[in-house]
């Protein structure tokens, strides 16, 4: 097990390095004077030079490259062009607020979609199964901001349910915040329900056809016992992988939802950085999301190995 974790950590280091390289290339493809780009064509040359010296953008490219590689491993993403404060101080609180929204969405989605997946698998090819599969396909293929806009027009405006602005006033209790976050979270529930339900359904169907399920049934276990002890343990592995992979996409989709509900999370921070051409903030956000994504997939692999002894043996061998 320890060897498995070490191997995965090593591959994460390599992937992070590549990630930093890709982002560095993207930021530096345009041979340009960063100071000139930010300060505009009418700024005096002296100010532009001072700006470049302060940010280190006047150093040779190779040096800047090593700098940016160092940054991803030290989590020091430099200073914002816009405000001069540390990028991490800007991104982390925003990521926390987005995380709160994402967590609420997950807490609602996971039980519903796993239950729906199991339900559909037990009624394979019957009407209820078709409904779950097709509703899942439709709801998860619609962009999150579209669902958010549709929910906003139906719930917040027509039925006067939920809040149209997701930012709770300062000092709102945790329970009170839920009311504000419910509609945006619901928009994300729609987006992720489909993937998780379909993956659970596929896993349960293949487990239902397996020999060990037949053995367990013939042993005289009730169908609930078979489901809990034998099928779910095996069927949930792909579901866990899908959930962990979704976390990266979730952060991409959350930007649109945050914009619709005017929520001050990572998305809003990034959008204001786009407007101000604040590249360090954007760069930091992309790298941080990459890091979150990689550790969530690592966590998922560990969870799968924990649930399934067969996987555990395979990786330690």
């Amino acid at each position: 097990m320890r060897r498995f974790i070490l191997q995965r950590l090593a591959s994460i280091v390599v992937t992070l390095w590549l990630l930093a390289t890709i982002v560095f290339l993207l930021v530096n493809v345009l041979p340009g004077d960063v100071g000139r780009q930010i300060l505009g064509p009418f700024a005096p040359q002296v100010e532009v030079d001072a700006f470049n010296t302060r940010l280190g953008t006047d150093k040779p490219l190779l040096e800047q490259y090593f700098q940016s590689i160092k940054r991803i491993f030290t989590l020091d993403f430099g200073d914002s062009y816009q405000s001069g404060t540390s990028v991490l101080d800007i991104i982390l609180p925003a990521l926390g607020r987005s995380g709160k929204l994402a967590l609420l969405a997950f807490v609602i989605t996971i039980p519903i979609s796993i239950a729906a997946g199991i339900y559909a698998a037990r009624r394979q090819d019957k009407f209820a199964d078709r409904v779950v599969v097709n509703a899942g396909l439709a709801s998860s293929s619609i962009p999150e901001f579209v669902t958010a806009a549709l929910l906003l027009s139906v719930f917040a405006v027509h039925w006067k349910l939920g809040k149209a602005f997701a930012n709770p006033p300062a000092g709102t209790s945790l329970f009170g915040q839920l009311e504000y976050l419910l509609l945006p979270a619901l928009a994300m529930v729609f987006a992720y329900f489909g993937y998780i339900a379909r993956m659970t359904r596929a896993g349960v169907i293949s487990a239902l056809m397996s020999d060990y399920t037949r053995t367990a049934t013939m042993k005289g276990l009730s169908s609930n016992q078979v489901m809990r002890r034998h099928i779910l343990r095996n069927a949930l592995a792909p579901t866990i992988t899908v959930i962990s992979v979704q976390i990266g996409y979730l952060i991409g989709g959350i930007i649109g939802v945050e914009k619709v509900f005017n929520y001050a999370g990572l998305g809003s921070t990034m959008l204001s950085a786009v407007g101000a051409k604040d590249i360090p903030v954007l760069q930091g956000a992309v790298l941080l999301v990459g890091i979150v994504y990689m550790f969530s997939t690592l966590l998922a692999d560990l969870l799968i190995a924990y649930l399934n002894p067969r996987v555990r043996l395979e990786v330690t061998r």
């Binding site: 591959s11 990630l19 993207l26 345009l30 549709l150 906003l152 649109g256 590249i279």
Partner: protein
């Protein structure tokens, strides 16, 4: 509608039974057998209700995109109408805050996304096929290094990279196309690579090698025709994702500038007035995006389930 072009010979009612009798194609089947299997697949795909529905929706939007102003009830940019009228017989989808007809704008707005999304997906798939083919067929160190790079690309969130790219490279549809195509390439490459790995030790490849054919010839003339199944599936799936991403990016500000009736841009323009009760200016473009993405996914799903069953 006549675009389903049912050949007159196959006037069979769409029975479910025909879907389960697909004979699996043996890996060493002769070229004509494979061709026949492909034709059989295409016949099965065409019969699926999901595929027909998806094509019908796409067809409607393609007609709107091509004909544009010529079939819209009003001009999409004409702001001389009444302001903020709710849906009525004169203005089926209502009018927006500057007096433009929402229905006309939704119809004309199909154009941008239908130009950008398929192009991005096709470029991504073509590059992915080339990269995946080299990775799978040549193998070795190249495959090892490329696999690592592919893996780290998967950690890149598309929408975030899109935002970063339009900030550094400027806001144009070519940047959006470039970002989507670049991020799709490794995903497609991974699929193609595993398909090629399954093919490269088969007899026809070995005999081509013994004949003294070049590597490029074997890859693109011998193997490629035999891995079209997964590539077609990947293309349809990628078009769905591309529509999704283009709409999201244009909502976030990477779309065409304001007077354009692009759907994402319309939602972005108007979502703030939902709370004031003007829901129709956001609702209908949002519904249009949803319908196109669902249609693309219905097509992709039908193609996928038929190809993977064979």
């Amino acid at each position: 509608m006549s675009f389903t072009d049912q050949p007159s010979g196959t006037g069979m009612p769409p029975t479910i039974a025909t879907e389960t009798v697909m004979a699996p194609v043996a890996p060493d089947a002769s070229p004509s057998e494979r061709k026949q299997a492909r034709r059989e697949n295409w016949r099965l795909i065409r019969k699926r209700p999901a595929f027909i529905l998806g094509c019908a929706i796409v067809f409607v939007w393609v007609v709107c995109a091509i004909l544009g102003n010529r079939i819209t009830p009003h001009h999409p940019l004409d702001f001389r109408g009444p302001i903020n009228v709710s849906p009525s017989w004169d203005y089926l989808f209502g009018t927006d805050k500057t007096g433009r007809d929402v229905l006309s704008r939704v119809m004309a707005g199909a154009r941008d996304v239908l130009k950008i999304a398929p192009l991005a997906a096709i470029i991504g798939v073509v590059c992915g096929v080339i990269v995946g083919m080299f990775m799978g067929y040549l193998g070795g160190v190249l495959d090892l290094v490329a696999s690592r790079i592919v893996e780290s690309f998967l950690a890149l969130p598309t929408v975030l990279i899109g935002l970063l790219a339009i900030t550094t490279l400027g806001n144009s549809s070519w940047v959006v196309i470039g970002v989507i195509a670049t991020l799709f390439t490794p995903i497609v490459a991974r699929t193609v690579r595993s398909a090629v790995l399954a093919e490269r030790d088969l007899d026809y490849v070995t005999s081509a090698k013994l004949r003294g054919e070049g590597k490029l010839f074997i890859m693109f003339r011998e193997i490629l025709p035999n891995v079209t199944g997964p590539i077609i599936v990947e293309l349809t799936v990628r078009i769905g994702y591309a529509v999704f991403t283009v709409a999201t990016l244009s909502f976030l500000g990477a779309g065409p500038p304001p007077p354009s009736p692009d759907w994402g841009a319309q939602v972005s323009d108007n979502y703030n007035s939902i709370v004031a009760g003007f829901w129709w200016t956001t609702f209908f473009p949002a519904l249009a995006i949803a319908s196109l993405v669902i249609a693309a996914n219905l097509i992709a799903d039908s193609v996928q389930s038929v190809v993977e069953a064979s």
